[in-house]
């Protein structure tokens, strides 16, 4: 008998939602001592399925029908008190954002021991000893220090390890992991995935792992279920699903995973349009009475960029890649070095002299939800730039219609507000806004990292098409080596504000020189199997 057997589960959304059912007649089994992955895009119902098992559906969302058998008992029939006792003891869960799941004002030690002592009658000292033991099993060092630390003093990876330790503190039979590595850097992600896999094998637990990334599935899963629009489309052993996907959507999902190998030819040999040399940016913190601290976010970075070419800047969080971009487009004022655009140094130009040049460098932002003014219509948003430079509103709107068509949107959407669009469509609008000024240089700052994989592939394709059609010089910032490989002619790897390595994409992937680049490449999930 499997540990968990979900039978015909249907989860209903409140009447005000955009669809009646979040989970529709789902059948799924999690056997003992195995890892089952649910893979799907946003809105597929994968998270709500997991929350239904935990008995933690949001207010207004109810399990309308079906059964969730855990060890033969239907969890949907349990009293709230019985479910409370099961949570942590039988079923534990870890979340995407460990910072939000940890209490920021309570020391790590207290949080772990509280969890243990809520279920077991043992002394504080004994619980603390168990907690220390658990944390060191999670591969954490300096455990005694860590127990006294507060969540904000830990790195993202450490926090997620603490969360896993807390989840495992009562030796649950089932661990539910809801996108546990999505918020982490790729090298940290690889470590956490390895940790979960190791612990699962040691303790012979069952793991239900929720992810959007088929690369992660390939590395983790014994079995996989593909979900879309609340239904399970396909369900089986991971080798079968990856090798012979039966459903066309599964094939599309697998095809959309960037391959991590460059398809683009080497960069065209051309006169550089942008030349950055010795660019440095420092941030000062505090310092009215104390000395304050100075961090060098970008440290002596040089690069060149030609028309028609895409340069990828790859790095993990804190590598300075976004700061570099913001200095080049003068959202930040650099402390040293120069940024030559067609020979003119824009790094230290006064605001008045800079304004006419601004239109030549444009940017596409990361967050599709905060990059568009929620109170302006699409038409107003994308014609704002031309109007700044004195273009007739009527002519700007006519051009806007063309640009919207170019980025694959219906020009009739011009009178709508941003909230009526999906994430992928918003990124297209952001791109349209940048293109309206007919720029020479386009800086794309993580333009696809907030998007679902299938949408990601479409937006990447669009960026590449636009780059070619308009002969743009493109600076593409990403944390994801696979994405960089897909669209970049050349790649520059950054770490701690410095350039680690740079060169043509093919060479970097085939023969990485630095250890850091090798580690980044090795950390790509699903590299062997997809």
């Amino acid at each position: 008998m499997p540990l968990v057997s979900i039978q015909n589960l249907t989860v209903a959304l409140p009447p005000s939602a955009d669809r009646p059912l979040a989970v529709d007649d789902v059948r799924l089994e999690v056997g003992r001592n195995e890892i089952v992955c649910i893979v799907g895009e946003s809105g597929s119902g994968k998270s709500l399925t997991a929350h239904a098992i935990m008995g933690l559906l949001p207010r207004g969302v109810t399990a309308a029908s079906g059964r969730i058998l855990f060890d033969g008992q239907d969890l949907l029939q349990q009293t709230p008190e019985a479910m409370r006792k099961r949570r942590g003891r039988d079923i534990a869960m870890i979340f995407q954002d460990p910072m939000a799941a940890l209490n920021p004002v309570v020391a790590i030690g207290r949080q772990v021991t509280e969890q243990i002592r809520a279920h077991r009658a043992i002394s504080e000292a004994e619980a603390l000893r168990q907690a220390a033991d658990l944390l060191s099993q999670m591969g954490l060092k300096d455990v005694d220090e860590l127990l006294k630390a507060y969540p904000h003093q830990l790195s993202g990876g450490q926090r997620q390890r603490v969360m896993i330790a807390m989840a495992l503190s009562l030796s649950p039979q089932l661990l539910i992991a809801d996108e546990p590595t999505t918020a982490l850097d790729v090298t940290t992600q690889a470590q956490i995935l390895k940790l979960i896999k190791k612990i699962q094998a040691e303790r012979e637990m069952s793991v239900l792992f929720i992810t959007h990334d088929f690369g992660v599935v390939a590395d983790m899963a014994d079995k996989v279920a593909v979900m879309r629009h609340g239904r399970v489309l396909e369900n089986g052993l991971v080798g079968d699903v990856l090798g012979k996907p039966a459903h066309s959507y599964t094939r599309a999902l697998i095809a959309a995973v960037p391959r991590g190998e460059s398809r683009l030819p080497p960069p065209p040999d051309a006169r550089p349009l942008v030349q950055v040399s010795g660019l440095t940016k420092r941030f000062r913190r505090g310092g009215l009475f104390g000395r304050g601290t100075v961090t060098t976010a970008v440290d002596d970075v040089s690069l060149t960029l030609s028309r028609g070419e895409t340069l990828g800047i790859v790095g993990e969080s804190g590598s300075g890649k976004s700061t570099l971009a913001r200095c080049m487009i003068r959202l930040l004022d650099p402390d040293g070095g120069e940024v030559l655009l067609d020979g003119a140094d824009i790094a230290h130009m006064k605001a008045r002299a800079l304004r006419p040049l601004r239109r030549r460098i444009q940017m596409v932002f990361q967050d599709p939800f905060s990059s568009l003014n929620p109170r302006q219509t699409i038409g107003d948003i994308i014609t704002a730039g031309p109007r700044v430079y004195g273009e007739e509103p009527r002519q700007a709107r006519a051009r806007a219609a063309d640009i919207l068509r170019l980025v694959g949107l219906n020009p009739e959407t011009m009178n709508r507000l941003p909230h009526e669009f999906s994430g992928g469509q918003r990124q297209r609008i952001g791109l349209a806004r940048a293109l309206m000024l007919k720029p020479d240089v386009l800086i794309a700052d993580e333009p696809v990292s907030a998007l679902d994989v299938t949408v990601q592939a479409q937006v990447l394709q669009l960026l590449d098409d636009v780059r070619r059609q308009m002969n743009l010089a493109m600076l593409f910032i990403t944390h994801d080596m696979r994405v960089a490989a897909q669209v970049c002619h050349r790649v520059m790897v950054m770490r701690h504000g410095k350039v680690v390595e740079s060169g043509p994409t093919r060479d970097i992937f085939a023969r990485p020189c630095s250890d850091y680049t090798k580690a980044l490449l090795a950390a790509i999930p699903g590299r062997q199997s997809i």
Binding site: L331, R355, R358, R359, Q362, S370, N373, P374, R375, V388
Partner: protein, 274 residues
């Protein structure tokens, strides 16, 4: 419209809005209904409510309380609304500059704001009004001067979070000027809390004006609710209506405005409710 439905779905907001509209109507209609004005003596002093022709009784000088209350609404609303408008404009301007530019501008403007916040507000108001000579204008100026720091703080907070949003950065990369960014990009997004705080401020301004008038620092040529209470306080124990009726008027008006403020808060920030 969605906003209106959300606003009026709260019974208290509906009540507050209805009461507020009624008071505004009374204030506007007062000169048409009572052409003789509030200072005219119409009969014996201290007649109780219900006496012939005096539904609200008469005061210590034999003036019609009903007319006094209607004219008092004019003064209270005029001072409350104009003081709030002035305070909101000043607060938005200074708060926006502090929040958008940060750094030295922020430090200077916030020290100025704190300067006004650490002085006991009502003492400052009394000194100011006494210094400027009691009049409608001096009450408005004084109340605006003690109220704007509240708005400035809220606006600054909103600007601090909004200015680092990507759509503002996008506007900067488009080459938009700072004034255009402040007024067309950020301010519309910062409006909901400003509207809420302003609606509450009208109530506070009415209270401040009443307190000023009670102390005899109101405009001597106008009858307001506060001065009605102040003038009648010696008769409080023999003729309750002379103080209770204007007092209740103040209370109901302020309560209505607070209900409206709460309703606006819920209707404009539906996500912050839970």
């Amino acid at each position: 419209m969605n906003f209106a439905r959300r606003f009026f779905s709260r019974p208290t907001a509906l009540f507050g809005f209805a009461v507020f509209v009624a008071i505004v109507m009374i204030a506007l209609a007062a000169p048409l209904l009572f052409a003789r004005g509030p200072f005219a003596i119409v009969g014996m002093p201290l007649l109780p409510p219900g006496a012939p022709g005096l539904p609200a009784g008469s005061d210590v000088l034999g003036r019609n309380m009903m007319i006094g209350l209607a004219y008092g609404a004019r003064v209270s609303l005029l001072v409350g609304i104009s003081a709030t408008l002035c305070a909101t404009c000043v607060g938005i301007l200074l708060g926006a500059l502090a929040g958008y530019y940060g750094g030295l501008v922020d430090d200077l403007l916030m020290r100025l704001t704190e300067f006004f916040q650490i002085i006991p507000a009502f003492v400052l108001l009394m000194v100011l009004v006494a210094f400027l000579q009691p009049s409608l204008e001096s009450a408005v100026i004084g109340i605006a001067l003690i109220s704007w720091p509240q708005v400035a703080r809220v606006v600054r907070g909103e600007f601090l979070t909004l200015r680092s949003r990507e759509f503002v950065e996008a506007a900067r990369t488009l080459g938009m000027r700072d004034t255009a960014i402040i007024f067309t990009q950020i301010l519309p997004n910062a409006l909901p809390p400003i509207v809420v705080i302003s609606s509450m401020m009208v109530g506070n301004a009415i209270l401040a004006e009443s307190a000023l008038s009670f102390l005899g620092l109101g405009d001597p040529n106008l009858l307001s609710w506060g001065s009605m209470i102040g003038g009648a306080r010696s008769a409080m124990w023999v003729a309750w209506w002379t103080t209770v009726l204007p007092g209740v008027s103040i209370m109901v008006t302020v309560l209505a405005l607070n209900f409206v403020g709460d309703g606006l808060n819920d209707a404009l920030n539906p996500r912050r409710r839970h």
